[in-house]
C-alpha cells in the first residue's frame, strides 16, 4: 500500500478561529443583543412613561436598577446560549455544509468543540457590550459574578443544546421542550418522596437555576447549584461528542 502525504490533521483549526468568531458576531451575536435590548426597553418603558427617567434613566435608584439588571440576566443567559448553540451541528447536516468542511483534514469533534468554545467567548463579549450599553443608558454596573454565571449557564444550557444538535435536526424545538419539561417536572414533583422522583435527575436541573438567578450580587455565590448545572451541561456536551463520533455526518 502506498504511503500518503504527511498528516495535516486539525492544522487549520487554530487559524480558522477568527472566522468562527466573525460568524458569531455577524449572526448569533446581533440576534442576542437585539432581543435583550428589546426586553430591556420593555422593562424600562413603564419607568420612562411614569417620568422616573425624565432627568435621564440614570436617576433610577440603584437598588431598582440592580433588580432590573438581574431580571434581564435570565432571558440573556437562556436566549444567548440558545442562539449560540441552536443548530450548531444540525444545520451543517441539514444544509449539507459538512460535505466540503469535513473533506478537509479536520475532525468534526475538534471542529465543533472549537465552535462551542468560541461562541461562548463571543457570547461573553456580547454580554460585555450590553453591560457597556447599560452603563451608558442607565448607570455603570458591572457585577463580576456575571462572568462566573455566564460560562456556567452557557455550559448548562449549551451542553444540552449541543447534545440535541448532535443527535438530530430538530434541536431548537427539543431544547425548548426539554427545558420546559424539566421546569414543570421539578416544579410539580421536586418535593415528592416517591421513588420515581429520582427520574427527575435525568432531566436538566431546572430547580437549581432559581438559585443562580436569585443570587444577590456581592453576597455569597451558590456553588452547589452552579456545580450541578455546569456538571449536567458538561456531561451532555461530552455525550454530544460521543454521539457525533458514533453518528455519521451523512446521517440525516
Amino acid at each position: 500500500m502506498n504511503t500518503v502525504t504527511t498528516s495535516a490533521r486539525n492544522r487549520g483549526l487554530a487559524p480558522y478561529s477568527p472566522w468562527l468568531l466573525r460568524d458569531y458576531f455577524t449572526n448569533q451575536g446581533p440576534s442576542t443583543a437585539i432581543v435583550v435590548v428589546l426586553i430591556a426597553y420593555m422593562s424600562l418603558l413603564p419607568l420612562i412613561q411614569r417620568g422616573v427617567g425624565s432627568a435621564g434613566l440614570d436617576s433610577i435608584p440603584l437598588e431598582a436598577a440592580r433588580t432590573m439588571q438581574r431580571a434581564l440576566f435570565t432571558p440573556l443567559l437562556f436566549l444567548g446560549t440558545f442562539f449560540a448553540t441552536n443548530g450548531i451541528i444540525a444545520n451543517d447536516r441539514k444544509f449539507n455544509f459538512y460535505r466540503f468542511l469535513f473533506a478537509k483534514p479536520i475532525s468534526p469533534l475538534a471542529y465543533y468543540s472549537l465552535v462551542f468554545a468560541l461562541y461562548g467567548i463571543g457570547f461573553m463579549a456580547v454580554t460585555c457590550g450590553l453591560l457597556g450599553l447599560w452603563a451608558i443608558v442607565v448607570r455603570p454596573m458591572f457585577p463580576v459574578e456575571i462572568f462566573a454565571i455566564l460560562p456556567i449557564m452557557y455550559i448548562a444550557y449549551g451542553g444540552i443544546g449541543f447534545l440535541l444538535s448532535a443527535a438530530w435536526r430538530f434541536d431548537w424545538i427539543s431544547l425548548v421542550t426539554v427545558v420546559l419539561i424539566a421546569n414543570v417536572g421539578w416544579e410539580a414533583f421536586g418535593e415528592s418522596l416517591h421513588v420515581l422522583h429520582n427520574l427527575l435527575y435525568l432531566l436538566p436541573p431546572a430547580h437549581k437555576t432559581n438559585a443562580i438567578y436569585a443570587m444577590d450580587f456581592g453576597r455569597s455565590f451558590p456553588w452547589g447549584a452552579a456545580t450541578w448545572l455546569a456538571g449536567y451541561g458538561a456531561v451532555c456536551f461530552l455525550l454530544g461528542l460521543v454521539v457525533l463520533r458514533k453518528r455519521s455526518m451523512g446521517t440525516s
Partner: protein, 345 residues
C-alpha cells in the same frame, strides 16, 4: 479559449507532479468480474471489500443502497462510476469520505478507515450539489477552505489566485455565494477541491450545471490533475465524460457492481458492434447490403452488430453499387454499449 491553459495552470499549482497517460489506447476492451480485485496495474490505494449499506428509517423501513460491493482502485488511476439514478453512487461516495459507515464489509484508503484518512490527509471533493453558506463571498470561501485544508499562510494567497484563474472565477471574487450562477457555483466547488495537492480526488457529477464550454474545460482540468500516486474518482451520468477521462469505469445498478469497463481500450477487430452509416447518395442500397439496418434520419442507418471485416465488405459493396458514403462510425461508445447491457431490465 486556450485549450492548454488547464494543464499549464495545474503544472504551476503542482509542478512536476502530473503526467498525461496515453497508454490506454491499443489495449483490448475488456471487462470481467476478476477485474474487481485488480487496479489495472496500479498499486492499490482504495479498497472496497464486500461493502453493503442499508438505510434505516425511524419507523424501521430499510433500503439496501449498496450490496456486496468489492473494488480496488489504483493510486495513479482515474476511476469512473456510472449508474442510473438511485443506483447507489452517492452512497458509495459518502462511504468513501467516511460520511457514512458501511453496514457490511470494509472500506480502506491507504489501509486506513476513510474517516481516519480524510481527517489526517484531506481529500479533494466536489459534490453534485455545491452546498456553501450563501452569505460567504467567493474569495472568503476559498480562504476559509484553504485555512481548514492546512495551507500555510504564506502560500494561501497564491493558491487561491491560481485556482481562481484556472477556473475563470476572477471576476466573481467579490460576489456572495448566493449571487453566483449554477455554473459558477460548480466551478467554485471544483476550485475549493483543488486548493491543496490531495492524493485522492472525488468528483460527484462534477459537470452538473456547467455549460458545454466549461464542461470541455473541466475535462482538460481533470486530465491535468493526473499524476503518479493520485487517485481520481469520478461519478457521473455522463458516459461520454467517463469515456474520455476514466481509465476504468464501474457500472453499478441497484446497489450492485455490474461490470468494470476499460472505456479507452480500442475495440477488437473481431468485436461485433452496430455502426452508424451516413449516406450522401445511394441510401436505397443500404437495406440490400446490410439486411436489418434501421433508418434513423435522412440518409442515416444503424447497422446490425458486425465486426470490422463485415463492415468493410459492406462498404465496398455499397461503393460498387455507386453509393457515396458521407461517414461511418460506431453507433455508440464502448462504455455506452456496456452500460446498456449492464442496466438492462
Amino acid at each position: 479559449m486556450d485549450e492548454s491553459r488547464g494543464a499549464g495552470e495545474l503544472e504551476r499549482l503542482h509542478p512536476g507532479r502530473h503526467a498525461r497517460r496515453d497508454d490506454a489506447a491499443g489495449n483490448d476492451a475488456s471487462w470481467c468480474a476478476a477485474a474487481r480485485g485488480r487496479a489495472a496495474g496500479h498499486p492499490p490505494l482504495i479498497e472496497f471489500q464486500g461493502v453493503g449499506h442499508t438505510y434505516r428509517s425511524l419507523l424501521g423501513r430499510t433500503i439496501r443502497a449498496v450490496d456486496d460491493f468489492s473494488l480496488t482502485i489504483g493510486e495513479s488511476e482515474v476511476f469512473g462510476l456510472a449508474g442510473p439514478n438511485g443506483a447507489g453512487k452517492s452512497t458509495l461516495i459518502s462511504l468513501l469520505l467516511g460520511y457514512l459507515e458501511p453496514t457490511d464489509g470494509t472500506v480502506r484508503i491507504a489501509g486506513m478507515r476513510p474517516r481516519a484518512f480524510v481527517e489526517s490527509h484531506g481529500m479533494g471533493y466536489v459534490s453534485e450539489l455545491v452546498a456553501i453558506p450563501p452569505r460567504w463571498k467567493l474569495e472568503e470561501t476559498l480562504t476559509r477552505y484553504a485555512i481548514l485544508a492546512g495551507i500555510p499562510r504564506r502560500d494561501r494567497r497564491d493558491r487561491i489566485a491560481q485556482v481562481t484563474a484556472l477556473l475563470g472565477l476572477e471576476e466573481q471574487r467579490g460576489k456572495r455565494v448566493k449571487q453566483l450562477s449554477k455554473g459558477n457555483l460548480q466551478r467554485l466547488g471544483l476550485a475549493q477541491a483543488l486548493l491543496r495537492d490531495e492524493q485522492v480526488i472525488i468528483l460527484d457529477e462534477p459537470t452538473h450545471g456547467l455549460d458545454p464550454v466549461w464542461t470541455q474545460r473541466f475535462r482538460d482540468v481533470v486530465e491535468g490533475l493526473r499524476r503518479p500516486g493520485r487517485a481520481i474518482f469520478i461519478a457521473s451520468h455522463n458516459l461520454d465524460e467517463l469515456q474520455r477521462l476514466a481509465d476504468r469505469v464501474a457500472i453499478i445498478d441497484r446497489g450492485k457492481l455490474q461490470r468494470i469497463v476499460e472505456p479507452r481500450a480500442g475495440a477488437s477487430v473481431f468485436a461485433a458492434t452496430p455502426y452508424l452509416l451516413t449516406m450522401a447518395t445511394g441510401a436505397e442500397h443500404v437495406a440490400a447490403v446490410f439486411p436489418g439496418a434501421q433508418p434513423r434520419g435522412e440518409g442515416e442507418f444503424v447497422t446490425p452488430s458486425m465486426n470490422l471485416a463485415q463492415l468493410n465488405a459492406g462498404i465496398a459493396a455499397l461503393v460498387q453499387r455507386g453509393a457515396l458514403i458521407r461517414s461511418v462510425g460506431p453507433s455508440h461508445s464502448v462504455l455506452e454499449q456496456h452500460f446498456r447491457e449492464a442496466v438492462r431490465e
